[in-house]
Symmetry: C2
Subunit: 183 residues, 2 copies
């Protein structure tokens, strides 16, 4: 995934070519402004929502069948959609990517990734079955105990941090919400 | 603010008229797809980040000088920008809207608002001074004890919920992170 998005070239409202400049409305940042109809195009961070699905002392990881990080292991997660809550999005992604039947539990991590303009939010989710039905974005969905986690093959820093928080909280017998920043 | 954004009419890449349809890449939702260059336009929830600035037993509220909810009271908050963390955005908004000098503390609320496609994140922030220098979006910045809060004049549900969490946590002597959904 590239840092931020590709530049906006045309106005979403009228199709004219836009120019990046600071709008005249008191704003302090450059936006893509349409010289024809005046539309200001804002670009803001995206939320990625997912879960730590667990069964006993094991957590479920998915082997990615898509770029970036094809073949690496991740937690089920994806971009939050309009019309859903963070928890609903996390549950949806868990179903889509792992085909896992879960009961959603509490928020575990809120991790900003300023370099790519994202915030990742992970929930604990109790697995109700050890049968999975991964979607097309997943090669394999598999349970791992802590000492079996392929730490060198984890797809994203936010997944690694979330797994570390999960296992540490489990050891101390109390789960909290961890707010982190990764570069 | 309208529910979600106005529809996308033209492609941001080439300016051609787009059509809303489900892309052919395994997606399940309608997106604005460009028939000319193939660009798929995703629209996702926005994050609003802010603080509960406090000094002793009082919290700082700002009287809005902008629509929506002109003249109503709110906590300093605004849309998260690319390139910043949630806490950095919350600190920036506190400076812009209240001109308040604060020391950022922990995350307090993460509130989804699916109806408008937003997630609101509020941090506690300790005020280092009782002198404020509000920006053009604020009529007045003022400290309120709990029994002085103008509950009927609060601009947004997420602000109300965040204030309720703050005062309840303060009474029990322990602050947590509260994950809520409001309609």
């Amino acid at each position: 995934m590239p840092p931020f998005r590709t530049p906006i070239k045309h106005c979403r409202n009228c199709g004219a070519s836009v120019a990046y400049r600071v709008p005249d409305d008191g704003d302090t940042r450059e936006r893509a402004v349409c010289p024809a109809c005046g539309t200001i195009h804002y670009e803001n961070p995206l939320n990625v929502v997912g879960t730590v699905p667990y069964l006993g002392d094991k957590v479920l990881l998915c082997k990615r069948n898509i770029e970036p990080r094809w073949g690496k292991w991740t937690l089920p997660a994806g971009f939050m959609e309009l019309g859903e809550s963070t928890a609903e999005g996390a549950a949806r992604e868990t179903d889509e990517e792992a085909g896992a039947d879960v009961q959603m539990e509490d928020l575990l991590t809120v991790i900003s990734v300023p370099r790519v303009g994202q915030v990742h939010l992970y929930y604990r989710a109790r697995l109700l079955s050890d049968r999975f039905d991964p979607g097309h974005e997943t090669i394999e969905a598999k349970l791992f105990a802590e000492d079996e986690i392929p730490w060198e093959e984890i797809a994203f820093k936010t997944v690694r941090e979330t797994l570390l928080c999960y296992f540490e909280d489990r050891r101390r017998g109390h789960f909290g919400v961890h707010n982190l920043v990764v570069s």
